[in-house]
């Protein structure tokens, strides 16, 4: 071997990281925002009522609506509100749609007031769900391709993490080392520190991210054991209760769900109930299944099924086996469903650190490469490409995210496909940023785009105050932290981007040793000030 082991690993680290860096940044940003998916979804539907309700009332409201509007549905599914967001998520399956109807027509859904069960005319938006889907389904392309692409990026990320640890010779010696204001040295320090301080998080989130889709990436075990019925595997491994009964066709009144909820709480040992699924409402074979909220790291939680007409307990979910439990914990660690507000914030901070790690790695590549090009007197194609992608991704993506929130507030409420236009706005803004970066990949472009991102994020609280009634003036005094938090985090991100933009604008290239000596000599002789050196052409 021509090179030593460590050099080989350094090479691998550089190129695996750089190749997928820009897409990884999108994935990391989308995933980081997803820790507050519910809060964002709530914030993006300002028409919803503010008052908190308990789950009993919410279930009654959902039931009231469904009995009235979806009485003939094949099934109902209701996810009850929790402390994070006062929203009932519900959908139902319509009776067999006519031939040729779209798959979408098979399902119905509604947004209702959790207090009354009356439909709320909330704006058409995908909310936080868009950002969550973005981080593994991307957009515009079939989800299956997107998940292969994202899986590929995640595998590269995992390789970059492992080779990064091997390459980082002074991982303990430089554990506390960050030396700002020293050019390339500082970028390397920052890249190291952002990686090492949150290393457990980076490794965990990348590995468990791959694990969430492992049966897509490695399907052979599953297809060998369950050749004809993949769903059965998911039912069995996820310890779901399977209800394959046929409808009898004999109508029978469904018991009030409230009564069954009380039984479910008792039978599940007092657990909080998260989801209620009703099969064949109105039929004599109706069943009602209650699932508990997962209480620990694992996403698996027990459930119970009742006869919907007589209220008899029909089935309990079996206790999970070791493999299922392991998978449930790995999946749960990725989703962080168990996190209380403090732990959720820590996950969010770690996610941001992940974004900064990926970004600083890509910038570091350019910083290392630049001196060679400056010596040669022209910026080569490779560096120009990386500069453009760096600006378009690192400074451009915050513009796209903020634009998505702006679109939510500013797009007219009545337009056709409004939710799609919010998503389109994200990509239009990002496309514009990328295009501008390719046209002029220079330091000024960094500053402009960072300023644009700063303004868009920083002004969101103001925009919110001008367009809705759930602004900080209302939410802070009322202590509605999940709503106020969205405004406050946007403001904080805006401030950080503003500081970055200012520093980028004012940056002067560091002096070489010879230049420093010349300047010191000039100062002691106090004859004249040296001419400004090497006015920064490089980005």
């Amino acid at each position: 071997m021509k090179h030593g082991f460590r050099q080989s690993m350094a090479w691998l680290h550089t190129w695996t990281g750089l190749l997928v860096g820009w897409l990884l940044l999108l994935i990391f940003m989308g995933g980081t925002a997803s820790y507050y998916k519910q809060e964002i979804s709530r914030w993006m539907r300002p028409e919803l009522p503010l008052a908190a309700v308990d789950r009993d009332v919410a279930l009654g409201s959902a039931e009231h609506y469904l009995r009235e509007h979806a009485g003939d549905a094949l099934s109902w599914n209701i996810t009850l509100p929790d402390e994070r967001a006062q929203v009932i998520e519900m959908y139902w399956m319509n009776p067999t749609p006519p031939e040729g109807a779209s798959r979408r027509a098979a399902y119905g859904s509604a947004t209702v007031d959790p207090r009354s069960g009356e439909e709320v005319a909330a704006r058409d938006t995908t909310g936080g769900e868009f950002l969550y889907r973005l981080h593994f389904d991307l957009h515009y392309i079939p989800a299956i391709w997107a998940r292969y692409i994202v899986g590929f990026c995640a595998m590269f990320m995992l390789v970059a993490i492992i080779t990064g640890v091997i390459t980082h010779k002074k991982i303990f010696k430089e554990f506390f080392t960050f030396r700002p204001g020293k050019g390339q040295r500082s970028w390397l320090d920052f890249h190291n520190v952002s990686a090492v301080l949150a290393l457990p998080y980076h490794a965990l989130i990348t590995y468990t991210g791959i694990i969430t889709l492992v049966f897509m990436y490695l399907p052979w075990g599953l297809s060998a054991r369950y050749p004809s019925d993949e769903m059965r595997y998911y039912d069995e491994s996820g310890n779901r209760i399977v209800d394959m009964r046929e409808a009898s066709g004999t109508p029978a009144p469904l018991l009030p769900l409230e009564t069954l909820l009380a039984s479910a709480r008792r039978d599940l040992g007092g657990a909080a109930i998260e989801n209620v699924a009703v099969n064949r409402p109105g039929d004599s074979t109706a069943t009602v299944t209650f699932s508990a909220q997962p209480a620990a790291l694992s996403k698996l939680a027990p459930s119970v099924m009742y006869d919907g007409v007589h209220g008899k307990l029909l089935e309990r979910s079996p206790p999970p086996g070791g493999a299922s439990q392991t998978y449930g914990v790995l999946y749960g660690l990725h989703m962080a469903h168990f996190a209380d507000p403090a732990l959720r914030l820590l996950f969010f901070v770690c996610g941001l650190l992940g974004c900064l790690m990926v970004a600083s790695g890509a910038v570091l590549w350019a910083a290392k490469e630049r001196p060679k090009h400056l010596k040669a007197g022209r910026i080569g194609f490779g560096l120009r490409l990386v500069d453009a992608l760096n600006i378009g991704a690192i400074a451009g993506l915050p513009i796209a995210f903020a634009s998505y929130f702006w679109a939510n507030r500013l797009l007219p409420l009545g337009i056709e496909g409004r939710a799609d236009w919010e998503a389109n706005t994200f990509f239009l803004a990002w496309g514009a940023a990328l295009l501008a970066a390719f046209v002029w990949p220079k330091r000024q472009m960094w500053a402009w785009q960072l300023y644009a991102g700063a303004a868009l994020f920083g002004l969101i609280p103001l925009l919110n105050a001008l367009t809705t009634g759930i602004h900080l003036g209302v939410t802070l005094p009322a202590g509605l932290w999940s709503l106020a938090g969205v405004d406050l985090v946007c403001l904080a991100l805006g401030l950080c981007l503003g500081v970055a933009a200012r520093r980028m604008q004012r940056w002067q290239p560091p002096l070489s040793a010879a230049q420093r000596r010349a300047r010191a000599m000039a100062a002691t002789e106090s004859t004249h000030r040296p001419a400004p050196v090497g006015a920064g052409e490089g980005a």
């Binding site: 506390f176 960050f178 700002p180 520190v193 457990p200 790291l297 209380d340 732990l343 820590l346």
Partner: protein, 114 residues
């Protein structure tokens, strides 16, 4: 934020500060070359690891093995972040006073919230 989280972050911060000062280079930066006696630095190292261990014990005791460890690791990242990217390069004189004050304040908060 719960008192437990603040306590874990404070102890983590104090622990990392002690471990940082146990390293010759950082010790010399802050106290000058002469004070960096090996015995003194060894004591800082012991103190640092002990503080991190106490934080670990508190998290696990309060939240159990699963959640407790996740919370502990999260607070380690947050507290080392404050030290390494925040105070050490920009306000090095503040790191030791804060390492004393933070756990005391967290303990007061803990007692106040019961």
């Amino acid at each position: 934020m719960s008192a437990l989280t603040w306590m874990a972050i404070s102890l983590g911060y104090a622990g990392f500060t002690a471990l940082c000062l146990a390293m010759e280079r950082h010790h010399a930066e802050l106290f000058g070359k002469q004070a960096a006696a090996p015995q003194r630095r060894a004591r800082w190292r012991w103190l640092g690891w002990t503080l991190l261990a106490v934080s670990f014990a508190l998290c696990v005791q309060a939240r159990g093995w699963g959640l407790g460890i996740v919370l502990w690791v999260g607070t380690l990242t947050a507290s080392s972040l404050v030290l390494v990217l925040g105070l050490l390069p920009y306000r090095p004189r503040a790191i030791v006073p804060l390492a004393w004050a933070a756990p005391v304040l967290a303990a007061a908060l803990w007692l106040a919230l019961g």
